[in-house]
Symmetry: C2
Subunit: 304 residues, 2 copies
């Protein structure tokens, strides 16, 4: 199967600890790398993960809190020093460009590549990136500043031909693409041969959603229904539910409930508050509602 990995670079919350770095992760789809959020230290984590900067062309920023974007300027600067020439696309709230541009002008002066900002409207679901095998769409979230999640969704792949059947029916090469895409074959004698006889189904398209930071928000459930992997913040445990509400974050229980309601295949929780020495309680609380939950940690890789 084609590669579809999620690589965690940082899964702490705003206060960095000796254990967790601020938010950043890389989605690797067929060796195209997509960076989601970019807290301080992301470029170092990226290097430690032995990921290739040259494969990174798109960065998605969920919202403009420091723990999700303070690593951008250092990354921009390093890419410039490494001699990058390919444009780098940043998808963020419009304020991001307004804040970053003066720093880019000052600190990245003379750089040989272009940084292209794409303003996103976190309030509505929009496809903000598309290529031949993938779409990325925003997931409107609820937080103290405009925030959205991101849904990475593979496009359906063409079916696989059965070579023997193609030979048997003497299907001309010119017809094969159409048949892979689900059309039936009509012989010279006018006989209809179903495409299901000539091909096998391709793997079902996979999907990954990143939802951080957000208050408990059941309205996201329909959009993430049945996806393969959901990364959802679980900043607080049940005891701190009031604090979660006040700061517009989610508890582990609520993350588990969202995953259960959306019937996702797997839940990965992160964005842990610095107040918890270890996250076992968070894991237990989420698993009570959704057993297929695991804890994020730095330099973890999950395959979809």
């Amino acid at each position: 199967m084609e590669k579809f990995n999620v690589h965690i670079l940082g899964c702490g919350s705003a206060l960095p600890t000796s254990k967790h770095l601020p938010s950043a992760q890389v989605v690797n789809i067929r060796e195209k790398l997509f960076l989601v959020d970019c807290g301080e230290g992301t470029q170092l984590q990226f290097r430690k993960a032995r990921l290739k900067f040259s494969r990174l062309n798109h960065i998605f920023i969920s919202h403009l809190h420091g723990d999700h974007c303070f690593g951008l300027i250092g990354l921009f600067s390093t890419l410039g020093l490494l001699g990058r020439t390919a444009p780098l696309h940043i998808y963020a709230h419009a304020q991001g460009e307004r804040l970053l541009q003066p720093w880019i002008d000052y600190f990245c002066n003379g750089m040989k590549y272009e940084i292209v900002f794409h303003a996103i409207d976190p309030k509505q679901t929009t496809i903000i990136y598309e290529d031949k095998s993938l779409t990325v769409e925003t997931i409107p979230l609820q937080h103290r500043v405009p925030t959205c999640g991101f849904l990475f969704r593979e496009k359906p792949m063409p079916r696989h031909i059965i070579r023997e059947m193609i030979d048997f029916y003497q299907v001309p090469t010119s017809q094969i693409l159409r048949i892979k895409n689900g059309e039936d074959f009509i012989t010279e004698e006018g006989k209809v041969v179903s495409h299901t006889l000539l091909t096998t189904p391709s793997a079902p398209p996979r999907a990954y959603a990143y939802c951080s930071d957000t208050a408990y928000l059941p309205s996201i459930v329909p959009q993430i229904q049945g996806i393969d992997l959901l990364y959802h913040e679980a900043t607080f445990c049940a005891e701190d539910t009031a604090r979660a509400k006040e700061t517009m974050h989610t508890t582990a229980v609520q993350a588990g409930q969202i995953a259960a309601a959306a019937q996702v295949k797997k839940l990965l929780i992160g964005h842990f508050s610095a107040r918890y020495e270890n996250e076992d309680l968070l894991l237990k609380e989420a698993q009570a509602h959704f057993p297929e939950t695991c804890l994020a940690h730095e330099q973890m890789t999950l395959s979809l």
Copy 2:
């Protein structure tokens, strides 16, 4: 002796590696902490070093290249989250405030402490900080942007009284401070008792200089003459002297020559280019000119 430590948080150059972080160090003088430069990741290194944020009130920025200041905004933000109320003083080129203020306004909104910028003129030697036991003065350096080093110099301490002699001559308490500061004692009978009979000398004042980044610059020698410890950049080895000149950096040989000319007690080299897998050659080249050289490394502490 009162504490006078230098704690290295980062001693790499612009390109971070898995070994070195960008420039940052803490000078600890009697538990007052002074941060010198603040590359990306400084707040994490500070925490790892188990230094106390509450003891940090002054930050000196040598110049506005990213590897010396990208960690500031994350540090500001974290101090705000930790509930700091004491003002934080930043000494940097005026452009630093112009760049940082919009980010502070946006990201540190609602913070309970004040960030006070002090514009420094890197072109001339000026005392930019002073308290009862210490001065910090700028050392004009030569780099691609306005840059200065910093010289931390203890003030001479009062002499120590010899209790037995004070009792013997029945020196009144009111006179003791004057005698500790070097005045002689005159008895009621008019007899002069030299202060050297009544006191022993205090430890000689110590001094530490931070010089990074700079082209080879012998003009700094008189200012740092005889100091206890010199941190000097040694970005390149002798083979790369042309590259050093072009980028306005110093080679290890040149750092050794500066230390020898200034007759400092000890030289600590840092700001190593990412091109060297290990820095033994840099050490050897510097030691050929100045044997009392050592290599900086992250989380190293040196006592003066």
